[in-house]
C-alpha cells in the first residue's frame, strides 16, 4: 500500500534552512518505519541521512520523531500508527542537526560520562567474581535495559530549559551504580548529582518514562535516588 513520508531535510553544505521533502513508499503494514526509510534511500534518494545499526531495538541508533512522538524507527511498524499511512519523520529534538535525521549526540554522551558510568571499587578483587544478590539486581534490572538511544533526554522538558541538566538517561545510569552493592562510590555519586543540574532538576514530569522504547520506569528510578539522598540527610541531622 502507498504510504506518504514527509521527512525533515537539512544539509549544512547546501541548505540555509531546513525543509521537508515528501516521498511515496510502497510498504506493507508489517514493515518497520526503518524499512521504509531504507526503501527511500535505496530506491529513491540516496542522499537521505539517518543513523541505524542493528535494526532490532538493541543498538539505540535510530531514535527519531515519528508523527510528533519520539520512537525507535526499528521498533515501530507502519500499522502501529493511526494516521492513514501518512508519516512525518523528524530528528530528535534538542540536539543539533548534523544532516537530515542525524543529530550530534556528543553532548548527550558527555553527560553520560559525567556520572562515571562504570563500577568503582578499589578493593582487591576476590578470587572469583564479585557477587551481587539477585534481589538487589532485580531492583535495578530495569535500568540495565537502557540502550542509550537518547529518547528520554531529548524529550525531557527540563533538558530543553536547562542545558546543564544532566538528563534522565545519565541519571538512570547513576541509579544503576548507586544501588549496586558492589560499587564503593555511592556517596560521591550521590553528592555529584545532589543539585538542580543533577537529580533535583527532575520535576517528575514522566515524559522520559512515556517515550522510553525499552519501557524503563525512569521517573520512578530517579525518585529512588531522591529518596536515598533525603534519607541520608535525615540520618545525618
Amino acid at each position: 500500500m502507498k504510504c506518504t513520508f514527509i521527512i525533515y531535510r537539512f544539509d549544512p553544505a547546501v541548505d540555509k534552512e531546513s525543509r521537508y521533502q515528501e516521498y511515496i513508499v510502497d510498504a506493507d503494514s508489517t514493515d518497520k518505519i526503518l524499512d521504509c526509510l531504507n526503501k527511500i534511500r535505496w530506491e529513491q534518494d540516496a542522499t537521505l541521512a539517518y543513523r541505524y545499526s542493528c535494526a532490532h531495538g538493541i543498538c539505540g541508533s535510530d531514535a527519531l520523531v515519528i508523527n510528533s512522538r519520539v520512537e525507535l524507527a526499528c521498533q515501530m511498524l507502519v500499522r502501529d500508527f493511526k494516521t492513514g499511512n501518512n508519516f512525518v519523520i523528524e530528528p530528535l529534538p534538542f540536539f543539533k542537526v548534523i544532516k537530515d535525521l542525524v543529530v550530534d549526540l556528543e553532548p548527550f554522551f558527555d553527560k553520560h560520562r559525567s556520572v562515571r558510568p562504570y563500577l568503582i571499587n578499589d578493593q582487591k578483587p576476590p578470587e572469583q567474581e564479585r557477587l551481587q544478590e539477585s534481589k538487589t539486581q532485580e531492583f535495578f534490572e530495569p535500568a540495565l535495559r537502557c540502550i542509550l538511544c537518547a529518547s528520554c533526554t531529548s524529550s525531557c522538558p527540563i533538558t530543553r530549559t536547562n542545558p546543564d541538566y544532566v538528563g534522565p538517561a545519565a541519571l538512570l545510569r547513576a541509579f544503576r551504580y548507586i544501588f549496586d552493592s558492589r560499587d564503593a562510590a555511592t556517596d560521591e555519586r550521590l553528592e555529584k548529582i545532589n543539585d538542580t543540574d543533577g537529580v533535583w532538576g527532575c520535576k517528575s514530569l514522566w515524559w522520559c518514562t512515556d517515550v522510553c522504547p525499552k519501557g524503563i520506569p525512569i521517573t520512578k528510578c530517579l525518585g529512588q535516588i531522591k529518596r536515598v539522598i533525603k534519607k541520608k540527610e535525615k540520618a545525618a541531622s
Binding site: T47, A49, K99
Partner: protein
C-alpha cells in the same frame, strides 16, 4: 547489492553444490567487474551513507568471492559447510584451514595445517 545477496542466498548458503557454487563465483566476478563502474548519487562529504554502502559492497564482493571459492574447494561436508554432492567429511584431504591470498589476478587458495590441542576432531553424531 540486491543481486549479490540473491546469488549468495540461492547458491552459497546452507546446502551447496558444485554447479551452484561455480555459477555463484561467475556471477560474483561479473558483479566485481560492474562494481568498477559504480557511481554515487550522494556527492556530499557529510554523513554520506551512499559512499559507505559503496565501500562496503566492494569489500562484501571480495568476501563473497572468497566464500564461494573456499566452498568449491572443500569437497566434503564439515560443520556448517554442507556439500550435497560430498555428504561425508574427509579428514585425509581437508583436515586443514583454508586460506586465501590476494593476488593481481584471481585470489589464490592455499592451506594451513590444523594444530590439534584439547579436542580431537571427530564426526558429529547427533
Amino acid at each position: 547489492m540486491a543481486r549479490m545477496q540473491e546469488v549468495m542466498m540461492d547458491k552459497a548458503s546452507v546446502f551447496r553444490l558444485e554447479k551452484g557454487l561455480t555459477e555463484a563465483l561467475d556471477k560474483i566476478r561479473e558483479l566485481q567487474k560492474s562494481y568498477l563502474n559504480i557511481s554515487l548519487q550522494d556527492k556530499g562529504s557529510c554523513f554520506n551513507r551512499d559512499l559507505l554502502d559503496a565501500l562496503e559492497l566492494g569489500h562484501m564482493l571480495d568476501l563473497a568471492e572468497v566464500i564461494a571459492m573456499g566452498a568449491l574447494h572443500r569437497e566434503e561436508s564439515r560443520g556448517a559447510h554442507c556439500r550435497e554432492d560430498f555428504p561425508d567429511r574427509n579428514d585425509v584431504k581437508f583436515l586443514a584451514h583454508t586460506l586465501v591470498r590476494h593476488t593481481d589476478d584471481v585470489p589464490q587458495i592455499f592451506e594451513k595445517a590444523v594444530t590439534i590441542t584439547r579436542f580431537q576432531p571427530k564426526e558429529r553424531k547427533y
